[in-house]
Symmetry: C2
Subunit: 384 residues, 2 copies
């Protein structure tokens, strides 16, 4: 027998639908140059420090004296130490190495974390939402609650993503504390996705949920190098499961460790050396330069659209701009107009959930010249 | 609530227990050089063709013109084509590209495949068995049947691994056909792990289950580059889910595709270029040389132990030698003796299941000089 919960999934994945429409448009208009502000994929190369580290690691694999076979399922200590020292210690958060689980990316961890949780758990997500939170839980047969704020009722597991995908919104420390307080009071589990924390520009916005007191007792944090350092195709991320975290009378750190040891065999050694280099002085500088580049794209797009009279949010501490469609225009209508009239790919907000209706998401991950041309095309469209 | 099935797992993982004992021995005897014929990890470097391909791929990631972001969740076509053309076509098996799912390794696929199957399925494994088949199903709450041969009763899902880990046994085409016939008759699903197929030396042993007629209607095949090309630390494998395979009235290819698109984001581009190079003329030659090296280790170990009067099997079409312990000696006793008297690490057969009691597993993945010294130490132990 198969897992019948799969029949409850929506028939296809948002980004596949978009890709299909874009393919059809390109086939009809082979002369038009399509610019994508759609799927959140990066365009800038890996930091040079990562390139050099991976070359060295590849060379190590070429000699039996330096060859590396199976690594620790949880990741090498050299990377876990760099994570603890750079992503947490400077923010006053002490994370021990055996609380860090390196993986082939946050999407895998986000999909797999449900393995250790009961199918009976209720799940709350903030609508609009990254589809993986919903789909992976539908696959497990869990009931999903679409939330817009801290709920009144009890919910077992809450997914939070800040800076937010798709809206680009952030939470202040006080707003995040309201969620932690809720989870502590309700004995709920928060799964906190901070894949975009590197884009935070304002000093008072927390980069990790563990900056909030008590969060170690109620939260798991997912991190990714995809957007931080262009690792979307290189695949590396990590998950922090604090040892203080007890859910349903069970320390989740041990459970996740068992899951990973049984169903995962660690992330590529070469990739982990690449990730380690992100934390070198050169790596940090290079990462910062790339993020500055993307955030300048975000500023240009945000300001231009705003000047054209569009209502926009996000893009200040996140690489996503959330554009309100004109009155009476649906997300998919706006998507179609931008595709057909301006050869621009966006992501319809409704694809992220019902509260996304009436919005499209734009990403700042393009090349500068493409962003500028996209703005120009929007201006022309508006002027017509 | 947590997934309570985890409480039904045996308290720890076989190889962790072994590692603990070895650490203790080393701490007590810092002067002794421990040789491991235990965990099945390779020692020879990656093929030079893979090294060169990965260097090129790393360089592609350094320039925005050749940079690769998100790849297909199912793997790049360049690798899927190489797989179809080299692993299947020459054996008369036609596999289409969308039947191949590239991943970060067979352990992940083996652990995750249960996602698409109901928790109500009965599972049959051949005792002794690779622990992941059992543990991943216990985690899902499935009932496990330990089999030694084709069963009389109905079982929903059967795991087969040939060449076998741990025993090194292989199945003839006729023996494999008996399983396929059973699955077709019972509408069962076979999960066929052929991670060690590259070690097959005899022409009449099938390398893939799809060489058997009807297998595409009842089997999923797992493949790994870990043992073929030393990818244990580089992480790449693939799973073939034929489109003809219908289980519980549902095409599993679509289900697995959905699972991978939702919970996985593809294998590293750099790694996939490395894997592709395995199929180049140089890559094939280099892989063959390494496998010849390991199989010569296997022959040396097998023949030496046999001459010492031990009963051994395996090691002819597989990198594992299955050693029967002397009368009245348990697996763990034999393990302890070899560790304490000869500083040799083996794997107790009982760790793989009750029918493994009275055996230890030796691997041929060591360096030649270590294999020779291990033989020498065994001879001395025997002579005492």
């Amino acid at each position: 027998m198969i897992n019948k919960n799969y029949f409850n999934l929506q028939s296809s994945y948002l980004f596949s639908d978009i890709a299909k429409k874009v393919r059809a448009f390109k086939a009809e208009h082979p002369d038009k140059r399509v610019i994508s502000l759609g799927i959140g994929d990066v365009t800038q190369p890996l930091p040079q420090a990562c390139i050099e580290a991976m070359h060295r690691a590849v060379d190590e694999m070429a000699s039996s004296d330096t060859f590396r076979g199976y690594g620790p399922e949880q990741g090498y200590d050299f990377l876990r130490q760099a994570i603890a020292d750079n992503d947490y210690a400077p923010r006053g958060v002490k994370i021990e190495l055996d609380e860090i689980f390196v993986s082939d990316g946050a999407k895998s961890d986000c999909g797999n974390i449900g393995d250790i949780l009961s199918a009976d758990c209720s799940v709350g997500v903030i609508d609009p939402v990254y589809p993986v939170y919903v789909d992976s839980n539908v696959m497990a047969g869990r009931h999903i609650h679409l939330l817009t704020t801290v709920p009144q009722e009890h919910i077992d597991i809450i997914y939070l993503c800040y800076p937010n995908n798709p809206t680009g919104a952030v939470l202040t420390r006080q707003q995040l504390k309201a969620w932690v307080d809720y989870a502590l009071r309700e004995h709920s589990l928060i799964i906190y996705d901070s894949a975009y924390e590197a884009y935070i520009q304002h000093d008072d916005i927390p980069h990790t949920i563990f900056e909030v007191e008590g969060a170690k007792q109620c939260a798991i944090e997912l991190r990714s190098y995809s957007k931080t350092a262009g690792f979307t195709g290189t695949r590396c991320g990590y998950t922090v499961v604090p040892k203080e975290l007890v859910f349903d009378n069970t320390p989740l750190n041990q459970l996740w460790n068992r899951r990973q040891c049984t169903k995962f065999n660690g992330c590529s050694y070469i990739t982990q050396r690449g990730a380690e280099a992100i934390y070198s002085p050169e790596g940090k500088q290079q990462v910062k330069a790339t993020i500055t580049y993307y955030m300048e794209n975000a500023r240009l797009i945000r300001e231009a659209l705003s000047q054209m009279g569009y209502e926009v949010s996000g893009g200040e501490d996140a690489p996503y701009i959330w554009l309100k469609t004109p009155q009476g225009v649906t997300s998919w209508q706006m998507f179609d107009t931008l595709l057909h009239e301006a050869a621009l790919v966006t992501t319809p907000g409704v694809g992220f959930g019902p509260s996304g209706e009436g919005y499209v998401r734009l990403t700042a991950f393009g090349r500068r010249e493409d962003c500028l041309e996209a703005i120009e095309r929007c201006a022309q469209l508006k002027g017509e």
